[in-house]
Symmetry: C2
Subunit: 358 residues, 2 copies
């Protein structure tokens, strides 16, 4: 088993944990290495649930903060092991997981080992299965198995946010909008009814849709309504009797699930709409005192998070939560995934400053 | 090997050959049975090319006519062996192939054996692989291997036409109309370009399209332009970068291939159009003297054929060709495929009348 040296600089820890492949379903070797590296510190109680590791301080502080990061990645595509590269004079660690989100996890691991007496009690969580179906998410499993571990006043998720604080997240809804027709041989098309032709207004409404920008607690959330898949047709000589357009609606955290669903039903009024997936967003939560302290201490300007992240799980438990991690989210899942070394250092500095001064 | 008795009534021959399964690629048992049954008649020279059987008279007549039928069927779906059924007092043979087109082949086999001295020289052709890709068609293979066998003044294809004479056929063109976009995460859709949304005008043009009706040699051909398949999208959280709409244009035999292609390009002006399949139609050819004689003798009212059939292969060789066979073409490939016994008898009577009187 590879040994992790958590006294090394965070960039070295980043390289080390990126070089242990941990595509979803294959997190065990990395979870083993983390468990071994983080065990044995007198200031931490360590728990393990599958490939999720939890490490807690119990210093009797007035407040407790969860700091979490997932340890799995999307599939490798020739981008492991990591390499050091330079672009326009900027030094990067390149490779799968550097952005999403092992650089963030590396900073967390290093600080978990180093900060024996933080200003708040800490619950560190490193979890599996974030990059797959929501119901397999390690954080969700842990919340079901050990809800007691989720007692906290604030949560920070190390998802890539360019070293800025990204508050809350948009919600996401998926729905299938369906048309029906009548099959016929395409040589006698007038005998049938073409379900693909009937989908024309669905695409027109999508093409004409103008997404809203909604301000929530001072942050401007940009929405989006998009077709993500379309499918219809049986054979090259058959008038199709069904066409399905799968749409994805990303909605500001000020709308709840019911309002989001109603909006999609309104847009596709007259069509058969089936909601297949619906996860509400998370309000930024930046008005909580501990959140304000955190933002001030790390010296960042809060911005909205557009993508849905696990902050919504904390938000649903009533815990304000933000994203704060190194790396450009646009490069997540990208084959040229790479994290600027300066951002790793910035986030490490920011977190340490807050945790030692609060 | 099952033995065919060609002296039995045509409806019995129909049952017998329908009960020998001959889904495309599996025609050999039926081809063997036909070859055995039709060999040994002094008035016929019999040739075999794979599972295609040809039987010719050589009586020195002034005219030669090809009478042809394919022996393969689409896949069986619980509808073999045949059954005798009655609907509203009408007697049917029910089962796979009864309509498309073994009843027609049965009539042909019976008359080939019976008519030792027809009024015109005859070239009977029973061929394989009509229900699959055009390049595997047994008639096409025979035309390449033995072009000499295609010398003829007129051709009759026994495709189902409700016992009426259906002249010529529409042409068929398939094309893929494509849009391109730029992939992005659907949480930040404004970074991408949605290729499915861009396909909205393709579907609108199809929905608004009004097909023409075109009179060719007195027959009215009805055209059609339809989406037969649509596909786009990568995943539930990705803005799609491509969308493809496959369209099928059925065009009157007065348009040639180039004109048909130009029409489709005009309709989808501004889009990327790739023609993937293009088979011109066949003019009715009913102005040829032998065709007029035939129509008069069988006592039928000529109608247009909408579906593309192998008559177009004869038409391309300059041989007027019509469809004439028992069975409702709307029931071809249908799981409740069934042929009225009266139509089998009518077509037998019509062909015999013409071939013994011309």
């Amino acid at each position: 088993m590879p040994r992790l040296d958590l006294t090394a600089p965070a960039v070295e820890v980043t390289r080390a944990i990126c070089d242990i492949p941990s595509v979803s379903d294959d997190e065990t070797p990395l979870a083993d290495a983390i468990f071994a590296a983080i065990s044995g510190f007198p200031h931490l109680d360590v728990h393990r649930d599958g490939d999720t590791i939890v490490a807690r301080t119990s210093l009797g502080r007035a407040q407790r903060v969860v700091i979490a990061g997932h340890i799995d990645t999307v599939p490798i595509n020739g981008n492991v092991p990591t390499r050091d590269i330079e672009i326009d004079g900027e030094a990067f660690v390149w490779g799968r997981g550097t952005v999403d989100m092992k650089a963030g996890v590396a900073v967390q691991l290093k600080l978990a080992a180093e900060l024996t007496s933080p200003a708040v009690d800490l619950t560190w969580m490193w979890y599996d299965h974030e990059e797959v179906e929501s119901e397999r998410n390690g954080l969700g499993r842990l919340a079901a198995n050990r809800p007691d571990l989720f007692a906290a006043d604030f949560a920070i998720l190390g998802e890539p946010s360019n070293g800025q604080v990204e508050g809350g997240c948009n919600g996401t809804l998926r729905a299938v909008v369906r048309t029906e027709g009548v099959r016929a041989h395409s040589a006698r098309s007038w005998v049938g009814e073409n379900a693909i032709h009937k989908a024309a207004p669905i695409l027109s409404r999508l093409a004409e849709y103008r997404p809203r920008e909604i301000t929530v607690e001072g942050l401007v959330y940009r929405e989006g309504l998009n077709a993500v898949r379309i499918h219809g047709g049986i054979a090259g000589n058959v008038i199709p009797d069904a066409c399905e357009v799968e749409v994805n609606y990303r909605f500001a955290p000020s709308r709840d699930a019911a309002a989001a669903e109603q909006h999609v039903r309104d847009v596709f009024d007259g069509f058969d709409v089936t909601v297949t997936d619906l996860a509400p967003g998370a309000r930024p939560g930046l008005d909580a005192p501990v959140a304000r302290q955190f933002v001030a201490a790390v010296g960042a300007q809060p911005r909205p998070k557009y993508g849905w992240t696990d902050v919504a799980r904390f938000s649903a438990l009533g815990i304000p939560a933000v994203n704060y991690g190194p790396g450009d989210p646009h490069l997540a899942h990208h084959d040229q995934e790479r994290v600027p070394i300066s951002q790793i250092e910035d986030v490490e500095r920011g977190l340490r400053a807050w945790l030692t001064s609060a």
